[in-house]
Symmetry: C2
Subunit: 407 residues, 2 copies
Amino acid sequence: MPETYRVGLLGHGTVGAAFEQLLAERADAIAHITGYQPQVTGVLTRSRGDFDEILANSDLIVELIGGIEPARDYVLRAMQAGKHVVSANKLLLATYGEELWSCARSNEVQLRFEGAVAGVVPVIRVLQESLAGAHVERIHGIVNGTTNFILTEMARAGATYEGALQRAQELGYAEADPTDDVTGRDAAAKMAILARLAFSTPVHLDQVPYEGIEHITAEDVAYARDLGLGLKLIGTAERVDGGISVRVHPAFLYPGHPLASVNGSFNAVTIESDAITEITLSGPGAGGAQTASAVLGDVISAMIPPASTPETSEALAIVEDVENAFYLSMEVDDQPGVLAQVAEVLGMQGASIKSVLQRGMDGHARLTMVLHPLLESRFYGAVQLVSRMAFVRSQPRAIRVIEEEFE
Amino acid sequence: MPETYRVGLLGHGTVGAAFEQLLAERADAIAHITGYQPQVTGVLTRSRGDFDEILANSDLIVELIGGIEPARDYVLRAMQAGKHVVSANKLLLATYGEELWSCARSNEVQLRFEGAVAGVVPVIRVLQESLAGAHVERIHGIVNGTTNFILTEMARAGATYEGALQRAQELGYAEADPTDDVTGRDAAAKMAILARLAFSTPVHLDQVPYEGIEHITAEDVAYARDLGLGLKLIGTAERVDGGISVRVHPAFLYPGHPLASVNGSFNAVTIESDAITEITLSGPGAGGAQTASAVLGDVISAMIPPASTPETSEALAIVEDVENAFYLSMEVDDQPGVLAQVAEVLGMQGASIKSVLQRGMDGHARLTMVLHPLLESRFYGAVQLVSRMAFVRSQPRAIRVIEEEFE
């Protein structure tokens, strides 16, 4: 009988319960791999368990409480006591990551967190290990399953945002209060973590601007389809002008983009680097079983030997104004010369049209176009000018477009 | 100045040269991560270097010679001397893997081989680490870039197999002698390795039946497109009836399949397991820089701490006859009742039609259909009966279809 490896479990919600079950199911297989029989030897919830007692009787702590406190306090105390920690807490890592990683290094313990980003999609491990030697240029990610489900519903069924959200709630893909998901804040926390790992520079959640999908209409999705575009909530982390930009916003993708075919509640991340061109990792977003599986992979790795998040080596600037291609759509009077005048005003701001679609409706027309990449500040300046033109009958709608098509 | 970590490099072809350059470029960044400055301290080629001398002066050996001997001898001797080894040699691992892994375990050294399968797509690490605790049910892979490039050309440009192969050779995606790639043998070696890791059971290249793309015609690709299908060379490793099946053959995919959108020379692998649903990893197949990047990731991991391929824990049977859906296409006389008679003969063998397309040409017709899954032996029995029917004017063409569509 192999020696027991004692796992202390903090939190017993959906993921915690799924983890405990999965660990029990796979304990024998894990004993074969590691030489130790893993076992949950203590569980802390609001109503049962004592942290100090659990800590004293564990070789490793799994933190699935979520939120900042008391999760932060427990994780720090566990590492100070020389225990490895596995956490799926994106908010904690996007906010207090440097403090936690520093604590892990100085206590020579592991802090693993695959479950914090994109569920079972192994993006943390790939960034920290497979690509440890790579100079990452950019990451694009669909890292929130709720919003991807809603956008997929809108595209497939022509549903409104409200209708798609309701369906997501009925099916358990969205919470009763979906604010963190639909505003893009959840995705922003995940992108902060990915950017920190990819670029080895400190990135705090507060440095990641985010824009959600609450204002996307069924028409946006429908018109864009005529241009061959699909809408996703995209997180971006990229090097720009010697600094970096990390942000979350809705964006259209051409069908050739590796993220374009990621539908429903799935997550996916594309990592670009000169040496590797780009790799894409995709899979189910955070469901209980999926996140539990990611946590278990981390536990097994901690049972075998160390991995460590190195100290930051850079202090790169966060670039605020970046280039983007844009989709722009507005209602205009149905009269000659409208397109030419819009094009002229855009051109004065350096915005040039890549493709355009004009469709007459009774008495007016809808003008939908894709613009070549330009600085966002220039683009929004141009939109302001266009919106003041006499024949423009609706506030122009602007959504970013990711241009790359991959082989 | 950090201490030097000495890397002995065996082989200096495309990948070897790219690896040496990448290591030099990234040496400082790696020193930051690991605390050691990596450096190539010896290179063995046919014309220069002495293996024993290089071995004595290395902390780790990178084997990029390819083929069985002398690669096998060098890798064994390196591990016996207590050195970690990183190899990208799929043929060696698919043939002598158990001997090599056993040698690594008994000498307590690491043998890493990410570069052996799917270039920089981190499927080895994900199987061995992220999914170490998962019960993998099935793997589907596009693991040969040459054949995927050829099939993509045929689909896009309506090219013949010969024309597409020639273009692949001109662009450097296919070798002058493309036999190993186009026959499926290269993919079979990679699937043997993946199956070994996924199922923890010995799998030798000789146990992997393979079928290539040499006999695929432009018409196969064109007709199937009318049914919404795309053709790929697919490697499969799956559990069947308490055993496993590992095989490589051309197969059509519906557009919803995660591998359907993998085009050009890209590779991709989908791993299915109850707990994770499925994850897909994709990226460029084996080019020099990409494989070098995978090798470098392994070197860095070896510099930090151990990982190990555990002994096999199972001795699962290799299942020969598996169920598959099929595409079936043939020329028939253009007369009433043909479809009904074909359907009846198929039905007697247990083959039922899922979708069918009949198109008249002058004097005859082409009958193309997709059949629901059935045992391959039953299917081929049915095809033999059909081919003997009086109104069938061409040898029926059969290609497997992968049915799953994912969310």
